[in-house]
């Protein structure tokens, strides 16, 4: 972190931090960087020029979500029982079932929300981390836009979880017809939450800080 501070002091571009100003991440007001200014004068939240340990926290959250993504896709996310015969469905299996019953638009929707969004999100966060770690000299604007999209779309992956909660509560007729949530539901829910936290703990200003 100290490395950053020194690097920034040499830059000509006027970011708030190079001018000795800290932007409160809660209310946005600027405070002069002094040894005693540790709380925002407007909202009392602790002042950090950049999100504290942003790189390490994002990397840790990303790696945990990546490892949970595997069980989320291997294990059944729900089991559909009809007339005593149980049939486990994985995330991909649910999409294939939708395609077989000719519900292509809904299948696309689930495909995007449950598979593409988490995957692309983890890939994008990984790229952002690599960019910061190796100090890639890039056009920072599209990278910031990518970050913004990642932070925005994450919550839509909860679609599958909500759908399962509704199916589980409605289809409950014992041996005749029943839907039970599977272990992958917990893993997938954890993936969604962890990637949302990962996006939140990444500080896009780090991309701008490393550009010379």
């Amino acid at each position: 972190m100290e490395n950053y501070a020194r690097k920034l002091a040499m830059k000509i571009e006027k970011s708030a931090l190079t001018q000795g100003l800290i932007r409160c991440h809660e209310c946005g007001c600027l405070t002069r960087q002094t040894s005693h200014a540790v709380h925002c004068p407007l909202c009392d939240s602790p002042l950090h020029a950049r999100i504290a340990n942003s790189f390490q926290r994002t990397a840790a959250l990303l790696l945990s979500s990546l490892s949970l993504y595997i069980p989320a896709n291997i294990f059944p996310i729900m089991t559909v029982t009809q007339f005593g015969v149980g049939e486990p469905h994985t995330i991909a299996g649910g999409i294939i079932a939708l395609i077989h019953s000719d519900m292509i638009p809904i299948a696309m929707l689930v495909l995007i929300a449950s598979i593409l969004v988490p995957l692309l999100k983890m890939l994008g966060l990984g790229l952002l981390l690599l960019c910061v770690y190796y100090r890639w000299q890039i056009n920072a604007r599209p990278w910031t836009v990518m970050y913004r999209i990642i932070a925005f779309v994450g919550r839509w992956s909860m679609l599958d979880i909500f759908m399962i909660s509704i199916l589980v509560s409605l289809v409950d007729l014992g041996g005749v017809a029943q839907i039970i949530a599977g272990p992958a539901a917990t893993a997938f829910a954890a993936v969604v939450v962890l990637t949302m936290f990962a996006a939140k703990s990444f500080d896009p200003r780090l991309i701008w800080d490393i550009q010379q």
Binding site: S15, L21, E26, L30, L109, L173
Partner: protein, 209 residues
Amino acid sequence: MSKIELEACAECDLLLNPALPEMGEKAHCPRCGNLLQRPRKQSIERTFALSIAGLILIFPANLLPLVGIKILGNTKDGNLWSGVAALFQENMWGVAILVFLASILFPLLNIILSLLISAHLYFNKPNAHLARWMRWLQHLDEWAMLEVYTLGIIVACVKLASIAELKFDFGLYAFIALLIITGMLSSSLDEYLFWKQIGELRQKVGHED
């Protein structure tokens, strides 16, 4: 301490002169394109009114059945809580808590906090907790997922349509109305203005002391 008459972009930290956009305009960061400010007409009044409407609607949306199904003569209704309860019974407590937070508790807190803050600003009443409430509201916002839940209802209904008879109950209409109200609520809330007003109220208290 002298007041700093500058701003910084939240996403690239570029130091800026305050943009002061007109009503209906949007101010973007010239360097990274981040939306800085979007002034709203009568933001405080609208937020106040919409959060009251939301608070009224949240009761029927939570308590009345949303969808009912009929399979082989057996009928079953479901509301927002029954999904959570069913997951709990299957010992999926992690998922159950997440669904409870995202579809019930956080939307409720979102509306209550919006109501508290906008009421204080509307009546010009200082409160020591205003800044804290505003911070909570900003953090809660992305975890209240009524619109995603709506999509979940649609997908679940499509899946069930082939095996069961579906029936849409009054709760669903209340739920959709609540969804529209919360959407309008978050777009009417001008965070820049709210923080400015909270700061001014705080200064007012400081001068009275």
